[in-house]
Amino acid sequence: MSAMPESAVSQAADQTRLAFGLAVGELAERDDSVVAISADSVDLIGLRGLVEKHPERVVEAGIAEQNAMGIASGLATTGMRPYLCGYAPFITARSMEQLRNDVAYANQRVVIGAAASGVSLGVSGGTHHALEDLALMRALPNMTAIVPADAYQAWHAVWATREIDGPVYIRLGGRVAEPPVTARDAAFRVGRADCLKDGDDVAIIACGCMVVEALAAAEALAGQGVAARVLNMHTIKPLDGDAVLAAAAETRGIVSAEEHRVTGGLGGAVAELLARENPTRMRMVGMPDEFAIVGPTDKVREGYGLSKANIVKNCLELLG
């Protein structure tokens, strides 16, 4: 494990996408097999430093995600460790067949850094929102899917990929601030949720930008005498089933919270597990089955209830 160094904190403390690129640059210094692939996203993902220092270690594929994905697979077959960087809406949906066949089916060690996920590009509209990417990744065998809650976790996640023998999808934010919610040196284990707050009335299972809202909701609930557990489910696949089942057994219900459609994402993953193992009352906070409206990110999130207030409301409804 390696915590984000001070030099990176000053550049990327509230941006998971930049933390990802800086971490790849740091890994490249230590490991000759590390190579970044950019789909015209060098600055988006914090690779400029690596480009300037070791230009041969960044392959620019241009605005051509299908080719970028295939290149990443081919590189991986030769023993290189490719980190493929792009926009979440394009590096998933546009190149989905390459991702499925060349990366997941061929089980290559390709790490995908998917920036600008969710509605972080709010004003760009539905073409630029990524609200089904986790559903796509969850449906792929061999895939590991990680949603860092903040820049510190994005750094840890990149480091953790060294031990993962298969493809990894790391979902990253856009240009809106992502305030830290974890300690810089907190342990990070792929597939193991962080319990950020204990409680036995209700459990909030959140990922990504909704973790900060979940913590705020838990604080508000505490003021009303409700003890909410908060799990930061930073790994969507493989899901930490033990943490989910413990929450189901030890609280009176579960509220999931994610910046993704509730079909196929974190809420879906939790619900599928509970339906099999321990049917539990549940509410899902997330995007409905529709394309999101256009608008500034904070307003779009608020409009769809991706907020502290709506998590509180769902928890209280659940507890009846």
Binding site: V35, E56, R57, V59, A61, G62, A64, Q66, N67, A68, M69, G70, I71, A72, S73, G74, L75, A76, T77, T78, G79, M80, P82, E97, Q98, N101, D102, Y105, A106, N107
Partner: protein, 277 residues
């Protein structure tokens, strides 16, 4: 480069004949399959595996080996045939083509020693080949990468992304071969979605192009021996071929892109092909 001797060409032609017989054998065992595109590629594959590619069949993951990707993965019968002939696995595997729990499916499976990428979805192999060539360059391994493309496959736009990037990255160690048999699943390529002027398109994309008869072993080996065709550019061989080559009733018809192969048909095919040396 001196031209290859009659003896060399005769040996390679014999391997190509064995590939064709093994294709029919595998597809007869399977009951059906992609006869046309497997047999059109037989001479090219024989030349690659017995004249050009630097491989160690006993060590299929040897890091410095040359890479070959069959992007037109539906011709897998020909790939497994030539891999068996080259010694990657016993040729009895060919009798298990399409078999339950085998690695002998319709399309190449990377888990089978000698297969460099699982292919079958069209328009994937050239991008993967670009990545392999880059990996060889970054690690200074000096291996060469060859990708075989179908003609119908070139209708997939992803090929042209890959073509653009291979030239931009100056991948001289990358060669693509188009098995230009002029026919795809539902008819003639020129009627479905024409490719011409094909050589001009690739040249415009920055590749060095040579056209040849894909069934003439002297031309095939001369082209392979001349690789790369130009410094700092990827090379393209446009190999003019006949779909279903070697068996009269299967030649030059989309009906034999994929078809059933029963006992009677199989016997006729082997009779027409004749015995190898």
């Amino acid at each position: 480069m001196p031209s290859n001797s009659e003896a060399v060409l005769k040996r390679l032609a014999n391997e190509a004949l064995r590939v064709r017989r093994n294709v029919w054998r595998a597809l007869h065992a399977a009951g059906a399959g992609h006869v046309g595109g497997s047999t059109s590629a037989a001479d090219l594959l024989a030349a690659l595996y017995f004249h050009y590619l630097n491989l160690r069949p006993e060590q299929p993951d040897w890091p410095d080996r040359d890479r070959f990707v069959l992007s037109k993965g539906h011709a897998n019968a020909a790939l497994v045939a030539v891999l068996a002939q080259a010694g990657f696995f016993p040729d009895s595997h060919l009798d298990e083509f399409y078999g339950y729990r085998t690695l002998m499916g319709m399309h190449p499976d990377i888990k089978l020693g000698g297969v460099e990428m699982s292919t079958g979805g069209l328009g994937h192999g050239l991008s993967v080949g670009v990545g392999m060539a880059l990996g060889g360059r970054l690690q200074k391994r000096g291996f060469r990468t060859v990708v075989m493309l179908g003609d119908g496959e070139l209708q997939e736009g992803s090929n042209w992304e890959a073509a653009m990037s291979a030239a931009h990255l100056k991948l001289a160690d990358l060669t693509a071969i188009v098995d230009y048999n002029k026919i795809q699943q539902s008819g003639h390529v020129q009627d479905v979605l024409g490719l011409e002027p094909l050589a001009d398109k690739w040249r415009a994309f920055g590749w060095s192009v040579r056209e040849l008869d894909g069934h003439d072993m002297a031309q095939i080996t001369a082209a392979l021996d001349a690789l790369p065709f130009a410094p700092d550019r990827p090379s393209l061989m446009i190999a003019h071929t006949v779909k279903g080559k070697g068996v009269s009733f299967a030649e030059d018809t989309h009906l034999w892109h994929q078809n059933t192969v029963g006992d009677e048909i199989y016997r006729k095919a082997l009779d027409e092909l004749g015995e190898p040396l």
